[in-house]
């Protein structure tokens, strides 16, 4: 806006002005620059424009103007002249560039943040290491920090050979399961060992790529977007989740053709699947829009998925009709009715299909096997993600700690925890169930495939346990073989588990089964309704909720439990996402995690803990039976209430679903019955995972509290392999971990049970004693305790971390491709790598590094803010709003034909106003004078600039100002790069006259073409310097002194109507309503400012306005004493500038004057020049008086105006 740097040039001419002296002055206000200012300057913390900032700003400023008795006339920009349009185009281009910049800055921001997190994680990990080391080996502290980069290397150095081997195994296992089984397990010798190994490793392994899968597919399908839980999330989280879910929904389509073929042998199924996807994506998109506030589509939100689906079906029907008679297309409405009739039929058909599919699922393992293979096929992708896992792990560390901190609380309040857990469980159950139900069979299959990957760990465990059941105590080898094969089965089984469970339930306890079927029923039609009901009942009755928790153990609950398992892993990811966004929100999630974990503990402890344990311990083989009995007993006791409550529902459901249930049960009856026993055991392992982690957490915290000794040491990961490699130590460790928390004893025992039935039970019992001992003396046990953490936790955290990255990306550039996300992840990894590298290189302390990162972050954030600000534009709506405000204030405004500044200048010249209020220096170039600047800056004096002053003091005529603009750049011209105000004035002084710029161009072209010898310019120091400094930089644009620019400034298109302005009376009530409507201000808030202003205006009306003495005596310019002392005033501006100005003056005034003026420095000279000024002012006064004379009759002329003045 305006001429760059012109204000600094003319600063010496500023006349400080008291606002009070502007009383009853008519001032033209350049409103366009106001809006622009508000748009650019009024920002929230994030750098976003505040809506309606212009209305608020206008209101305040208008009030201020009125308070001082100023009579403003607002001038808005009209069109933009061609020249300006060009420069505006350039600006826009720059803005778009800015937008790119914004994206890039966001990327940078992310990278830096990642750096910092990496640093923190690094720090944390090291601390953990230190702890471990301090417990184990104090001697090797120093080596660790050096090799901190490579965890595994560290481990190798630190630990004994056994551990090394174990670790190696671990590594191999992670990527080559069979090898592990063959080598390490055989060495261990125990039959159960191989299983355990494989299970844990598989779990880990599964998690690794499960992470990838989670990111791509899983999380979001399980989220109940209508659920309270989701709604309770902070809006940004909701937005991010939705957005990610939407992206993900598209991702699913990225399956290879083979994969799709495998998944959907039936074309119809595939198309249906696709439609589902589209539906879901549409649903998500609408939700997203709703979140963003772009709604008009609220109606669809509640039901929309369903509604869309029904409509689709209707359309399909229409098509069928079309097949019958191709011309029936137009009669859609009629067909709707038909469609309703048809609908039920279709639904049945779907159900039948569904059932048949289920049967297929149950009977055909082949399908399932294919599915898992797909999962395997996808592994490569996850591996890419795993690359990011390093950094992710670091991220997770922070998270972990939070969890740790939160954890203890849960253990303390058992009841409370229980309730929470119940709720959480319900939520998750509901979500998962919903998902299962709402989606069609194809979906189910796909989901199963996906879930397989996600639940690999769980599935494996389940498998293992199932295996136990099937072949309870058989040889380890056999199981090893089975481990690989079964996985797929189980994976598929995982999805099947729900069905199976239901079947089982049906078989074992009829009522139970029904209920189960209801709760977890496979039938999709009524599921939603059922779900809603069940949820309601659960919520309504807190007691039943508790029972439900217990029930899961009993047997009917397996379905929910499975969900838990999946939810545990799947849910965490979404939670983690939020972490990246907001820590607060994250904590909530973590809490949930903790609750869940705690809940598991509780369940085990409260429900099954005391009773079941003795039987298990006593007889390994009878476990199943005892469990059964207990389960049944518990069921009867606990479920009684629930049953009663849900009886009605069940009955209803039964009618609907009996068929289905029967079919299912019939198909799987035999096997299901056997399987029934399984559910309790599988859950235990699942439970163990989290509980162990929790225990460790506590231990760690206690450790920290106990010993603050920080020693760089073996990484926690080193110890993982140990566990994996040798199952026995693991158990011991688990026991040790129990020490810290009494509650967790049960899980421990269960764990061994699940993993290796017989031999380990003994271990457990033996271990118990040590546990008690350990309680008394916790310290010794710490070593072991620390080990277990890492495997489970780190993996999960890795997943989380990856997701964090994703979400960050999503947040910043919403529509980035998944590929970009990977890229970002890689970038972040690289950044983290750099962090380490840098810290190694410069030996800086981590704190220092972090500080650096913080600074960089801050800088980038500022950059982002700035970019966003630059990308915003003034809209027509803003202008109309401002004009409405002006109308209510009774203030006249005009829209200039072209430039507002030009119109302002014209108004002054026409004598319609007394001055111009603007911060845009263009006004001078349009011939404006008496320009008031800093009108609303309380920190500065209002400055008045007179065009006459510019000419007299700076010898800058309007033409020269335009020349200056050509050098400096303005709205009409780009200017010369590298030429600042001082240089520009120097150029003007060096090349005087109207053709000065032409001379300059000729000279410079001569210089650049080397046709002008250096000696020729020796006489002028400026030319010499300019040659030296700009030789390689400054290239004059073609047609440099543009006559078009001169013309545009000298002859702007303006409205030269001499019609007087009239001011009305503010419409107070209208203002109140307007402000209420636009910016939501209450009446009180508006009155706060408005009423005093209006009152003041009224008293002025009554008593008259204080007039200024300058109205009566000559010299109306707002001139007062310049408060600065003489020397300071003269010191303003650079010496070069002063010299250049002097030369300018000399050029104009002639040689004699120049001699007098160029002797600088003495007070006398200053004084004399001052005197000159005074004299000049006299001239000005005369002119001013002339204006006044002109004004007087004009004022008299507009008698209508309320506040017009007549003699």
């Amino acid at each position: 806006m305006g001429v760059n740097g012109l204000w600094t040039v003319i600063q010496p001419c500023a006349r400080p002005t008291n606002l009070a002296t502007l009383n009853r002055k008519r001032l033209a206000v350049d409103a366009s620059i106001w809006i622009y200012q508000f748009l650019k300057a009024v920002r929230d913390k994030e750098g976003n424009a505040l809506r309606n900032s212009h209305v608020v700003g206008f209101f305040r400023r208008i009030c201020k103007l009125l308070w001082f008795g100023i009579q403003p006339v607002f001038v808005f920009d009209g069109g933009a002249p061609v020249l300006k349009r060009q420069t505006i185009l350039g600006r826009k281009r720059r803005r778009e560039g800015r937008r790119e910049d914004a994206a890039r800055t966001a990327g940078k921001l992310l990278a830096v943040q990642m750096l910092r997190i990496a640093e923190e994680e690094h720090d944390k990990r090291r601390r953990e290491k230190d702890l471990d080391i301090s417990a184990r080996e104090a001697e090797q502290e120093e080596e660790i920090p050096d090799t901190s980069q490579l965890v595994y290397v560290d481990e190798v150095r630190m630990t004994e050979k056994e551990r090394l081997q174990n670790r190696k195994f671990h590594k191999q296992d992670a990527y080559h399961l069979p090898e592990l089984n063959g080598g390490g397990i055989a060495a261990m010798g125990t039959p159960e060992d191989p299983r355990i190994m494989s299970v844990e490793e598989l779990e880990e392994y599964a998690r690794q790529f499960q992470d990838g899968e989670d990111i791509n597919l899983y999380d979001f399908s399980k989220i109940d977007f209508n659920g309270e839980f989701f709604k309770s999330l902070p809006p940004p989280d909701r937005y991010n989740i939705l957005n990610a879910a939407r992206l993900r929904s598209r991702l699913r389509m990225g399956l290879s053709k083979e994969q799709l073929d495998d998944m959907f042998p039936d074309r119809m199924a595939f198309s249906r699947f696709q439609i589902e996807r589209v539906k879901e994506r549409n649903h998500l998109t609408q939700r997203l829009m709703f979140e963003v506030g772009m709604t008009g589509t609220d109606l669809t939100l509640g039901i929309n998925a369903r509604v869309a689906g029904e409509r689709n079906r209707e359309y399909i029907l229409v098509k069928n009709d079309g097949v019958e008679g191709g011309w029936a297309l137009g009669v859609v409405s009629k067909e709707k009715d038909v469609g309703e009739a048809h609908k039920p039929i279709d639904v049945d058909a779907i159900q039948i299909q569904y059932q048949s599919k289920e049967e297929q699922d149950d009977e055909d393992d082949a399908d399932f096997e294919d599915v898992p293979i797909e999962g395997l096929n996808r592994l490569p992708k996850p591996t890419q993600f795993t690359t990011t896992s390093i950094q992710a792990a670091q991220d997770t560390a922070t998270r972990r700690q939070n969890i740790y901190d939160n954890h203890p609380a849960y253990e303390e309040g058992s009841l409370f925890v229980g309730d929470n857990v119940g709720d959480v469980n319900d939520l998750f159950e509901a979500q998962t169930e919903e998902r299962l139900h709402t989606e069609e069979e194809d979906e189910l299959n796909l989901a199963i495939a996906l879930s397989l990957q996600n639940q690999h760990g769980v599935g494996q465990e389940l498998e293992a346990e199932e295996e136990f059941e099937d072949t309870p105590m058989e040889e380890p080898r056999w199981k090893q073989k089975s481990v690989e094969g079964p996985k797929p089965i189980h994976a598929t089984g995982g999805s099947m588990i729900a069905h199976i469970v239901n079947n089982r339930a049906n078989a074992a306890v009829p009522k139970r089964q029904e209920r189960e079927a209801g709760a977890g029923s496979d039938s999709e039609e009524d599921m939603q309704a059922v779900m809603a009901k069940s949820r309601r009942t659960k919520k309504a009755q807190p007691a039943p909720v508790m029972e439900n928790k217990k029930n899961p153990f009993d047997g009917p609950l397996p379905f929910p439990k499975l969900d838990w398992g999946s939810s545990l892993f799947a849910k965490k990811t979404p939670q983690k996402k939020t972490e990246a966004m907001e820590e607060g929100g994250v904590e909530e999630y973590q809490d949930l995690d903790d609750e869940m974990a705690g809940g598991f503990e509780k369940e085990t402890g409260n429900g099954d803990g005391p009773k079941p344990l003795p039987p298990w311990l006593a007889d390994g083989g009878d476990i199943r039976e005892s469990l059964k009995k207990q389960q049944e007993a518990d069921r009867e006791i606990n479920a009684a209430d629930k049953l009663a409550a849900e009886e009605d529902e069940r009955l209803r459901r039964r009618e609907m679903q009996n068929r289905l249930i029967e079919i299912d049960s019939s198909s799987d009856d035999g096997s299901d019955i056997e399987i029934i026993e399984i559910p309790p055991s599988p859950k235990n392992p699942i439970n163990d995972g989290p509980t162990v982690i929790n225990d460790q957490v506590e231990v760690n915290t206690t450790e920290l509290a106990a010993s603050d000794v920080v020693q760089p040491s073996v990484s926690g990961t080193e110890q993982e392999p140990k566990e994996l490699g040798s199952p026995e130590p693991e158990f011991e460790e688990v026991l040790v971990s129990v020490v810290s928390s009494d509650m967790t004893q049960l899980p421990r025992r269960e764990k061994p049970v699940s993993a290796s039935p017989e031999p380990e039970f003994e271990d457990v019992t033996t271990a118990e004693a040590p546990v008690e001992n350990a309680r008394s003396s916790p310290l010794p046990s710490f070593d072991d305790v620390s080990k277990p953490e890492t495997p489970a936790v780190t993996n999960r955290e890795n997943d989380i971390g990856i997701e964090d990255d994703e979400f960050d990306d999503v947040e910043y550039d919403e529509f980035s491709d998944p590929g970009d996300e990977e890229l970002m992840a890689q970038m972040a990894e690289e950044a983290e790598e750099h962090a380490r590298f840098a810290s190694e290189l410069n030996n800086k302390s981590e704190a220092q590094n972090r500080e650096d990162y913080e600074n960089e972050l801050k800088a980038l954030r500022n950059q982002q803010k700035k970019d966003r600000r630059d990308a915003d534009e003034v809209t027509q709506v803003m202008i109309t709003e401002c004009q409405a405000l002006l109308r209510l204030f009774g203030i006249p405004y005009i829209t200039a034909p072209m430039e507002a500044e030009a119109q302002c200048a014209e108004l002054v010249n026409l004598g319609l106003v007394d001055g111009i209020v603007t911060d845009d220096s263009d006004t001078f170039l349009f011939g404006g004078t008496r320009v008031y600047k800093n009108m609303f800056n309380s920190n500065k004096f209002v400055e008045c600039y007179l065009g006459v002053d510019l000419e007299k003091e700076l010898s800058l005529s309007r033409e020269q100002l335009i020349s200056l603009a050509q050098l400096l750049g303005s709205d009409y011209t780009e200017g010369l790069p590298g030429v600042g105000p001082v240089t520009a004035v120097e150029i003007l002084s060096e090349f005087p006259g109207k053709s000065g710029l032409d001379n300059f161009r000729e000279w410079w072209q001569a210089v650049q073409s080397q046709s002008r010898p250096k000696a020729a310019d020796n006489s002028s120091s400026f030319r010499r310097k300019f040659r030296k400094s700009q030789a390689t930089k400054l290239f004059l644009p073609p047609g440099f002194p543009s006559s078009a620019v001169y013309d545009a400034y000298l002859n702007p298109e303006v409205d030269d109507s001499a019609e007087q302005f009239q001011w009305g009376v503010p419409d107070v009530e209208g203002l109140r309503q307007f402000l209420m409507a636009t910016i939501g201000w209450s009446k009180e808030r508006t009155d706060e400012v408005l009423v005093p202003v209006i009152k003041d205006m009224n008293t002025r009306d009554r008593e008259g306005t204080q007039s200024n003495i300058t109205r009566f005596f000559g010299g109306s310019v707002g001139v007062g004493a310049k408060d600065a002392s003489a020397p300071r005033q003269k010191a303003q501006g650079s010496k070069r500038m002063v010299a250049a100005v002097d030369r300018l003056r000399a050029n104009i005034a002639g040689v004699g004057a120049s001699v007098g003026n160029t002797e600088t420095g003495t007070g006398k000279r200053k004084r004399t020049t001052r005197r000159d000024v005074v004299v000049d002012d006299g001239d000005e006064n005369v002119e001013v008086e002339g204006d006044q004379v002109d004004d007087a009759p004009a004022r008299r002329g507009r008698g209508k105006g309320k506040r017009t003045k007549a003699k």
Partner: protein, 259 residues
């Protein structure tokens, strides 16, 4: 070179005290006729015009026209060092950076000397037209001060209405209204208590009492004050100093919108 000697420092002290609330910085313009001052207040509502003729000084010497930019607050501080009866001498070079003030106590031989830094003040001289005022009121300065003080309690502004019946100062405020009316009055014993009203046509104007209150601080300078009124013209309040020297205040009236 300026050199001016005042027999009584009190004169300058009182002048500065009277105007320092209206004007912060101003130029003392010195020429061979005397020392003149013209300044507006910040709001450009009131104007102070002071003229100390050469006769008021003994001796007075001014070779060249000099403009002394002075911060009145600073000048007040320096003048506070002078006793009312002290002999005050003002000196300045041509093109001065400082103003030299010498106070000589006649009672004892105490001589104090101060240099006051000067400022470069860019000040506009207003051309004050010679006006034939419709109403001229001469009254005791103390009486005027009292009226202003009393009416200030009622309102912010006062309406001065001069007619054949006399001069009526009236205020209309939130708490009520009040007025003071003066008629021509001649006290032969104490001519300083005379109230003299010369009227060519009735006048009614409204002024800010705040500014009038400021003017009244000059009451110490003179026993009589002359108030000149004319419609649509600033009010003139003049205090006559020794000889033909004067201190004048101009105040722009409040103008009703309907007028």
């Amino acid at each position: 070179m300026l050199e001016a000697r005042l027999e009584q420092a009190a004169l300058l002290k009182k002048v500065v005290d009277a105007i320092k609330d209206l004007v912060q910085d101003c130029n003392f313009d010195c020429n061979d006729t005397g020392i003149a001052l013209q300044a507006m207040d910040n709001s450009h509502v009131a104007l102070v015009s002071m003229m100390l003729k050469a006769e008021a000084f003994s001796p007075f010497r001014c070779d060249r026209n000099i403009s002394l930019g002075v911060n009145l607050t600073s000048l007040t501080k320096v003048l506070r060092a002078a006793q009312n009866e002290d002999i005050l001498t003002v000196k300045a070079e041509d093109g001065p950076d400082v103003l030299n003030l010498v106070f000589e106590s006649s009672a004892n031989d105490r001589i104090s000397e101060y240099d006051l830094k000067l400022m470069d003040i860019d000040q506009e001289h207003l051309g004050i037209p010679d006006t034939e005022y419709a109403a001229t009121i001469a009254m005791p300065s103390v009486e005027f001060r009292r009226i202003v003080a009393d009416l200030t309690a009622m309102s912010e502004s006062v309406n001065i209405e001069a007619s054949k019946d006399g001069v009526k100062f009236s205020s209309n405020g939130d708490i009520g209204n009040g007025s003071v009316t003066l008629r021509s009055h001649t006290d032969l014993d104490k001519p300083e208590l005379n109230v003299d009203i010369e009227l060519t046509e009735p006048v009614s104007l409204t002024f800010s009492l705040k500014y009038l209150g400021n003017f009244c601080k000059a009451a110490a300078l003179s026993t009589q004050v002359k108030i000149c009124l004319s419609n649509e013209v600033p009010l003139l309040v003049e205090y006559t100093l020794a000889g033909s020297s004067y201190l004048r205040f101009y105040l722009a009236p409040k103008i009703g919108d309907d007028e």
